[in-house]
């Protein structure tokens, strides 16, 4: 039996070894992904992102526990932590918060180093997710590196993206900036037992309202005023809900899990699942294509010519744009 056949029949050793092959982007790994691809497309991919220390790992731990208890769904976790930009090494510590999941054969956790990739995921995270999908996991939780403002790659990979916030991290200006809040399908305010939680909720609510205006009824100097929404909410549009949780105590988890399931139903009913799936595969294809083209091109240009052009750039004889042109056209001077 080949490794992929063993994986499809539920062998965990085959699974873990294929994950390594795919993570290292070996020839075997690529061949396995090709064989496994027809078996993918069934799992619900849930992304969990947010700033470092907001409690992403603890939240993933609780969600996985909840999904296990509620129904016999098999859960995979892919947890990405940063690699050192200097040595390439990494300490992957997400498992420390996921010890409750140990000993449950229905849960499989894999840690990944980002290996120089920006955007919050590693280059081969999508590949790992495909392997888990083919192996029959129903839910795949993908935890990004602690993300600041622009690590939004997860939205291209996941069906449902959770953005995790915690009290005291930013004001309402942070909340209206472009970037990470925009990709949220569900906003989670974790550590909701901390002071300042009301301010965080208020800032997030008002930011959401700017994006999705609704009808307002309020008292102004004792007079009841009504502000109509500028337009009817779009049919079937999803307004990201905000959920309070205290992951370390398990508070708010079942409500959050319900929202996740509701979002999955919404995606199916509105047809957004298909749209997302298509654009998800599109961005994956795009990334692969870029990698391949760059790799192929670098193979055609000899190292010495490349160094020579780089030297001329360094001497300020060539501007970077000209250098690119030189390399692309003549592949020499």
């Amino acid at each position: 039996m080949t490794l992929t056949e063993q994986l499809l029949s539920g062998n965990r050793l085959a699974l873990t070894r294929l994950l390594t092959q795919v993570e290292n982007d070996t020839t075997e790994g690529r061949a396995a992904l090709t064989e496994l691809f027809p078996h993918t497309g069934k799992a619900h991919l849930i992304g969990v992102t947010g700033a470092p220390g907001t409690g992403k790992s603890s939240l993933v731990n609780q969600l996985a526990l909840h999904f296990r208890k509620q129904a016999e769904r098999r859960i995979a976790v892919v947890a990405v932590d940063p690699s050192s930009p200097f040595t390439g090494g990494a300490v992957l510590g997400d498992r420390v918060r996921m010890r409750d999941l140990a000993g449950d054969p229905g849960v499989f956790i894999r840690s990944m180093a980002s290996r120089g990739s920006l955007g919050g995921l590693a280059q081969t995270t999508a590949g790992l997710v495909q392997v888990f999908d083919a192996a029959g996991f129903d839910i795949i939780l993908i935890e990004t590196v602690g993300a600041g403002q622009a690590e939004v790659e997860i939205a291209h990979l996941a069906h449902t993206t959770l953005v995790v916030e915690a009290p005291g991290l930013g004001d309402d200006i942070q909340a209206i900036k472009a970037g990470i809040l925009e990709i949220a399908d569900i906003l989670v305010v974790n550590k909701a037992d901390r002071p300042g939680v009301e301010n965080t909720l208020k800032a997030l609510r008002s930011a959401l309202e700017l994006a999705h205006p609704v009808r307002h009824v309020f008292q102004h100097h004792g007079v009841l005023k009504v502000v109509e929404a500028p337009h009817e909410p779009e049919y079937n549009s999803w307004i990201p809900p905000i959920r309070k949780t205290v992951a370390t105590e398990g508070t708010g988890i079942s409500e959050l899990a319900d929202e996740i399931d509701r979002h999955a139903r919404h995606l199916h009913e509105s047809g957004d699942w298909a749209t997302r799936e298509r654009s998800r595969l599109g961005s994956e294809l795009e990334a692969l294509l870029q990698n391949m083209l760059v790799a192929r091109f670098r193979k055609q240009v000899s190292e010495s010519i490349y160094e020579e052009v780089l030297d001329r750039v360094y001497q300020r004889e060539l501007a970077p744009w000209e250098a690119v042109k030189v390399l692309l056209n003549g592949r020499s001077k």
């Binding site: 090494g89 300490v91 180093a113």
Partner: protein, 140 residues
């Protein structure tokens, strides 16, 4: 199953699980070693305190590591280490190298080596030695 290439394969990162099985709470040593291995360019999966041998073996399987480093200061190494080795083997991971650090009496060293422990480090061991021996163990 095809022969598996480890750390020597180009681009392949050495993956190490650093775990603290047993009941003592002194994780300073484990953290120092984790950090040193990281600085040597390895990917270290840190699992934290109070792991059972079952949890260690399970994590080693899920993470497909090349090396397991166990830090034990409780004196329970003669119970914990053989069990971890046994479980790794049962999972088909007999190629994984096991290193231990902590307070290990000299009398126990021969037995531990005999059952297949690749390296044993006491207080004052140099991180350079650990890094070098971990590298050698996975590339041999």
């Amino acid at each position: 199953m095809s022969e598996r290439k480890t750390g020597s394969e180009k681009g392949r990162k050495i993956r190490v699980l650093v775990a603290k099985p047993g009941l003592d709470g002194h994780d300073r040593g484990a953290k120092v070693v984790a950090r040193a291995l990281r600085d040597a360019g390895m990917e270290v999966i840190y699992t934290g305190l109070r792991q059972t041998p079952e949890m260690v073996a399970e994590a080693a399987l899920q993470e497909d590591v090349d090396v397991v480093g166990l830090s034990i200061l409780s004196g329970a190494h003669m119970a914990l280490v053989p069990r971890v080795l046994e479980l790794l083997k049962a999972n088909g991971q007999e190629q994984v190298k096991v290193f231990i650090g902590g307070i290990i009496p000299d009398d126990d060293l021969p037995r531990l080596k005999e059952i297949g422990v690749a390296g044993i480090y006491g207080p004052g061991a140099s991180t350079e030695d650990i890094i070098r021996q971990v590298r050698e163990a996975v590339t041999e």
